[in-house]
Amino acid sequence: MYQGFLSWRFLTAKRINWVGIIGVYVGVTALILILSIMSGFLEQQRRMVRGSLAHLVVEPSPMPHIDGTPLPASSEPLQQAILADPRVESATTQLSWFSMLMQGGARGSLISTSRLSDTQSAKLVGVQIVGIDIENELRTTDLLASLQPPPAEASINQTYGYIAVENPNDPFSEPEGLEYQQPWAWCIVGQQLAIVHGLRRGSEINLGTMIPDPQTGKVRQSNRKYLVAGTFRTGENEIDLGRIYMDRRDLHDFLGTHRDYSQVLVKLHDYERDGQAVMGDLSASLVQKRLIRDAGLGELKTWEQYRGNLLGAIENEKVLMAIMLSLVLVVAGFTVFAILTMMIAEKRRDIGILAALGATPRGTMWIFLLIGFWDALLGAVGGAVTGVLAALNIDSIEQSISQALGVEIFNRDVYLFDHIPAVVDPVSVGVIVLGAFVCTLTFAAIPSWRASRMNPIDALRYE
C-alpha cells in the first residue's frame, strides 16, 4: 500500500515528527509508571486494610433473639454451620474485648502503672484483647506472616522492638529456658505496643477490664496477668499498637462472659468467585439456624464491607489519578494534531500531485492518519516498554537518583514498606496503550480529513 510507504517517508523526512512520537512516548511512560506505583501503594494499603481479617466476618449480634432467647453461648454450632459450606476453606473463632494495659511484676520492673499514649490529652493506652484458637487462626488469617522476623533489608523501623516467638505455630506455649513459677498464660503483643511499654520476652503485663453482668447489669472489674511470648507486626499501626493475642479459652476464663466468642472469621477457597454467593447462602442458613439474629443488621460482612470506607477512598484516589493523568495523553495527541496540521499545509502541492497520479481522497487521508498511527505505535510501544521496565526497577532507579542527588526521595520509614511497591497490571498497560492510540488517532483524524478535502488543483497551482 502506497499509504504506508508514503506515510513512513513523510514521517522520517521531517525531524519535527519526533516531537509527536516523544510526546506520546513520555505520556505513556509516565502514565504506566505512575499508575503502577499508585497501584502498588494501593495494593499494599489494601492488604494492610484487610490486615488481620479473613475474607468474611460473621459477627453475631450481642442482643438476644426477638423472642428473648439468647444466641448460643458456644461458638461450636456457628463454626460447624459455616464449615458445612464446601466453598469455605477454613474458619476461626475469636473472642475480643477491650482492656487497659498495666505494667509490672516480678522481673525488675519498679513501675506498676498504666501509660498514657498521649500525655497531652490524657489518652489511656487501651488495648484490644483477642482470644484465638491458634490452629484455626493460622489456617485462616495472615497471623503467621506477622510473626515472622522482618526481612534482612528492612529498616530500623521494622526491626526495632521485634521479639520472636519461639514457635510461631504454637506461640502461646512457654518458651524454653524461661522458667517461670507464675501460672500465667502467655500472649503475643503488637510490636508497637511492645516498644511503647518497653516489653521484652517474658515481660509481665497486667490487663484490667470491666465486664457488665447480663443478669444484674452491674459492672464487674477484673484483671489478670500475662507473660509476653513475642510480638507480631501487621504493618497497620492501630493494630500493632493496640492488640494482644492470647488463647481463647484462657481469655473466656478471664472474662467470664456468657458467650465464648464474638466473631468467626471465614476464609474461602476462591473469594473473588464465590464471595457474594457464600454471603447470601450463609446469611440465609445462619438466620434459619438461629445462629445469628438477622443478617440485615450487618452480622455478616465481607472484609471489603468491613473496611468499606477506607477501600472506597483508595479506589476513588486511583480513579481520580487516572483521569488527571489521562490529560497527558490529550496533550500528546494535541502535539500530533499541531504537527500534522503544519505538515499538511506544507504538503499542499504533494497532495495535489498524489491526486493527479490517481490517489483517492480517502487514500490521501490514510497517509496522514498513518503518520498519526506511526506516532502512536512508536510512542506507545516504546513508552509501554520503558514504563514497565521502569516500574519493575523503580527501587534501584530511586536509589541511584537518591544517591546522585543526595536526597532520600522515598523514605522507607515513613511508608512502612522496605521498597517502593509497584504493581504492573497488564490490563492497565493495555488500556493506556489503547488510550494513546485512540487519543492520537482522533487528533490525527482532523487534519487528515481536511487534507482529503483539498482540491488537487488548488494544491497544484502553488509553485
Binding site: R9, L357, G358, T360, P361, I457
Partner: protein
C-alpha cells in the same frame, strides 16, 4: 465513432469565483482527441490552456459540460472510479515537474503503480514495475540518477523522471502541459524529442500544450485557444 475518441470534451465551461466576482475562463468549448493522435494546443498566456488540460485530465471539474475518457463519462463516475481512471488511463506531465521531494527518482516513477495496487485492479508486481522503471529511466539517460532525490536533479532530469512516471502504467492518453516551459531551449528540445519518440512507440493519444510554433509542424493537429474557445485549425481539422 466515440469509441475511437481517446478524449471527448463537450460544451466545457469553467468559471472561477474570486471574491464577489465570477470569471469565466472557458466559454463552452469542445475538444476531441483521437486515438494515437498527437495534438498541439497553443494560445496566449492566460488563455485557459492549463485550466482546460486540468479538466481533460480529470483534475478539475468543469462548471458545465462533459468529459468522456474512452467513451466513459468521467464525471458520472464515483470519486474512486474517477481516481482509478486518472491513475491508469491518463498520464500527466506538468510544467513544474511536480515530483515528490521525499522520494528518489525511481520511487517517484514507481509511485503510480503503488497507487494502482490500492485500486486493486490488475495484479501489480512491484518488482517487475521496478525493473520497468529502471529500464525507462535508463532509456531517458538517467541510469546513474536512480536514487537521487528531485532536489539533486536538474530541471531537465526532473522532467524526464516526470515523463517516466507518467508512462509507467502504460496509459493510452498523455497530457503534457508546457513540459519544456521551464527549460532552456537545448534541454527542452531533448525532452521533447524523448516525448515524441515515446508517443510514436507507444501509439499514445497525446495533447501537447506549447508556445513553440515550430512544434506545430510535428503535430497531427494544431488547435488554438482564444477567448475561452478552441479555434479549430481548419487545414487539419476533420469535420464531424
Amino acid at each position: 465513432m466515440s469509441e475511437q475518441l481517446a478524449l471527448n470534451a463537450r460544451d466545457i465551461r469553467k468559471s472561477f469565483q474570486i471574491g464577489e466576482r465570477t470569471i469565466e475562463v472557458l466559454h463552452g468549448t469542445h475538444l476531441e482527441l483521437r486515438r494515437g493522435e498527437r495534438l498541439c494546443l497553443m494560445g496566449a498566456s492566460g488563455a485557459g490552456k492549463s485550466t482546460f488540460m486540468h479538466i481533460l485530465g480529470l483534475l478539475d471539474q468543469p462548471t458545465e459540460g462533459s468529459v468522456e475518457v474512452e467513451g466513459v463519462n468521467a464525471w458520472g463516475l464515483s470519486v474512486n472510479e474517477r481516481a482509478k481512471l486518472r491513475n491508469q488511463r491518463i498520464g500527466f506531465v506538468f510544467q513544474f515537474y511536480h515530483l515528490l521531494p521525499e522520494l528518489s527518482a525511481i520511487e517517484n516513477v514507481v509511485l503510480p503503480a503503488r497507487i494502482a495496487a490500492s485500486h486493486g485492479a490488475n495484479k501489480i508486481d512491484l518488482k517487475e514495475i521496478n525493473e520497468r522503471a529502471m529500464e525507462g529511466l535508463t532509456r531517458f539517460g538517467l541510469s546513474d540518477r536512480l536514487t537521487h532525490r528531485p532536489s539533486q536533479l536538474s530541471g531537465g532530469e526532473q522532467q524526464r523522471v516526470a515523463i517516466a512516471r507518467a508512462l509507467i502504467l502504460d496509459p493510452p492518453i498523455l497530457i503534457a502541459d508546457e513540459p519544456t516551459g521551464n527549460l532552456d531551449t537545448a534541454t527542452g528540445k531533448k525532452v521533447l524529442d524523448l516525448l515524441m519518440e515515446e508517443q510514436i512507440n507507444r501509439g499514445l493519444s497525446m495533447i501537447l500544450v506549447t508556445h513553440d510554433t515550430r512544434l506545430a509542424d510535428t503535430c497531427d493537429r494544431v488547435l488554438t485557444i482564444e477567448d475561452g474557445q478552441i479555434q479549430s485549425d481548419s487545414k487539419f481539422d476533420i469535420p464531424h
